[in-house]
Subunit: 427 residues, 2 copies
Amino acid sequence: MADTVHMTNDLHATMLDMGARARAASAELARRTPDARTKALLAMADALKAAEADILAANATDLEGGKAKGLSPAMMDRLALTPERLDGVADALRDVAKLADPVGAEIARWTVPTGLDIARVRTPLGVIGIIYEARPNVTADAAALCLRSGNAAILRAGSESLQSAIAIANALRAGLKQAGFPEDAVQLVQTTDRDAVGHMLTGLGGTIDVIVPRGGKGLVARVQDDARVPVIGHLEGLCHIYVDADADLQKAIDITVNAKLRRTGICGAAETLLMDRAVAAQMLPAIAAALQDAGCTLRGDADARVLIPQIEAATEEDWRTEYLDAILSVRVVDGLDGALDHIATYGTGHTEAIITENTATAERFLADVDAGIVMHNASTQFADGGQFGMGAEIGIATGRIHARGPVGAEQLTIFKYLVRGTGQTRP
Amino acid sequence: MADTVHMTNDLHATMLDMGARARAASAELARRTPDARTKALLAMADALKAAEADILAANATDLEGGKAKGLSPAMMDRLALTPERLDGVADALRDVAKLADPVGAEIARWTVPTGLDIARVRTPLGVIGIIYEARPNVTADAAALCLRSGNAAILRAGSESLQSAIAIANALRAGLKQAGFPEDAVQLVQTTDRDAVGHMLTGLGGTIDVIVPRGGKGLVARVQDDARVPVIGHLEGLCHIYVDADADLQKAIDITVNAKLRRTGICGAAETLLMDRAVAAQMLPAIAAALQDAGCTLRGDADARVLIPQIEAATEEDWRTEYLDAILSVRVVDGLDGALDHIATYGTGHTEAIITENTATAERFLADVDAGIVMHNASTQFADGGQFGMGAEIGIATGRIHARGPVGAEQLTIFKYLVRGTGQTRP
């Protein structure tokens, strides 16, 4: 443990020291070549496997602690590492190593009448603070994406997985060292003291450039409320499927069932079905039957319950609930405008979809819905950086600043302008 | 005054109401076409000229107040409007009307193996809060850039220019109304109560998406410290000129004199000259003489004072000072690495320049300096959105999130992903 961060009794001083080390490491990182960063990522993957025994032992400690705390079987399963799962984590690092390195890429270049040659090139953000909850693999995933984009990472794991996270972070740092990189490019907060999060949210004396929270609603809300530094976060994914009058019924059935039930626990899962009144009587019973046959519980508004009489009534609260479970709320709306109104009121800016064969209606939906991802005739479960061809992601941003939608390596960069002159002075 | 915002005795309620109106207007704005936004901008310019008498009368009130407060002649001059200056403000609006409308522009588009067609398109940020100081023209400039980018604006003017700002905002709102746009796309805080700023910094119940401070160090620092919403701000422009061993002496002289003295009060003015030790004896005396002949006071480190003996000593404080005046600090450094170290320590991330005929040295400087704008053989006074061909700007951002360098209409947008499918479900 002492390898990772030297702890003192003074949390504030320790945290400031982490920030200063991260800042120094980030300046160093930004100067390395893309190829060097690739090698460091591969060394981190190897080091992770080399430390397998230590990591599994630390994980056993976390699992004992979880048992004593009475964590649910689902939570215990998310916490557990096995040699196979660790292989998966190392493979994920190797996948990130294969991603294009965004740093230094020229985004645009032009010449102005004064003869100045102006280029906009990508640069790292600097130091990224990542605050997350249970899954131990996030330690490796987040560190890898930060490194791919030339950023130093300060990681704060959940208390349940702290020992696993420490062992993983130590392995990653060993890999960095082996590759000749500053170990402090990856640092992990070594205490469960909740004040550590508060310190991070102040920016550690200007050394943290951005905070990325990954976790439940409570965590993200706390971070967004208290942070004095910019936050790239996602709140909930309260995703809607709007089935339009011009929908193909079979597509509507297939997409709705997939969007709700493929995996109910992910943020891209659909939570509300909006049914166009014009075809509700023809289509809703068949869509509802397919959902119910697949094990989904439906809750409907008064109009929906006329067509699916055996279901419970949906309350105002239902329209605001991200179930993350096999439950779907159903509302009959007055066409596209009704759907747009509902989504504007209850949507969280994550992913929204329309099912229709009418291109004009689809294009209006795509243009008018204010969300990170807007889909036509596709399942909301595709809301994922990998599915978008962007590689690994650190989350789906629902804010309106810096990045929206999947946040991959490219979204963890900013840019600077390079101006090449031949002696110009400004008149 | 009652036209612009209905004030109540309850500032908090009034501010929340402004936020709600801005949010509603922003949803409306985002749906208008680029052409409609252009027409609205032209209508705003016409309305501004039509309200000339009202605006000049309000400005006379501000000028009287300024006189009573004992504002400096320079401040009084910045505050004063004339028919000619108002023509300039209206022309600036017409120039913004000519800028390409960024909203809806496709930034990237690709197809993934599942057959999904993915497009990243620009969207407005939403509601922008702008907090600024004396110059009355900022009210019109900021409102215009927000409208060009489809954003609603909540403006908070300095107390010295409040009456002028109210009159200008009323004119802009009249123009919006005439063009069939929601007047609440431009709102101005109608009170000098400083608590209004505090309310804005909390985000007005989630209705402000980003805050842009424009003004002195004190204002920007307060905003960055207290804001609970993202900030696009610039701190100081502590810009450096590094004259390398391979510099062309005449270029070094011309650029340094221009960078320091063309206009001393702008953020892109140079504040420190870093002189390569290898050629300091040959070059520094000539550069110093040219600066002094042009009326510049120099302050130097010990090595510089050996070569320019009659100048005052520069203290640690000088390296940290944005003079905004005809004063330049001079330091002799050990080549490129010495310059990079000095800039990393004292730079504010605004604009940095190298003078050299050695391309390899220049490219290392461009790559390694961490600033919004990095220049080779050009004056730092070119740090300006107009000079970059980006049109009007709201400032030069020195932060590391969302935008860096000149913030024009395009930088006041974010993006969303449009996913066009043919019925895909995720396996």
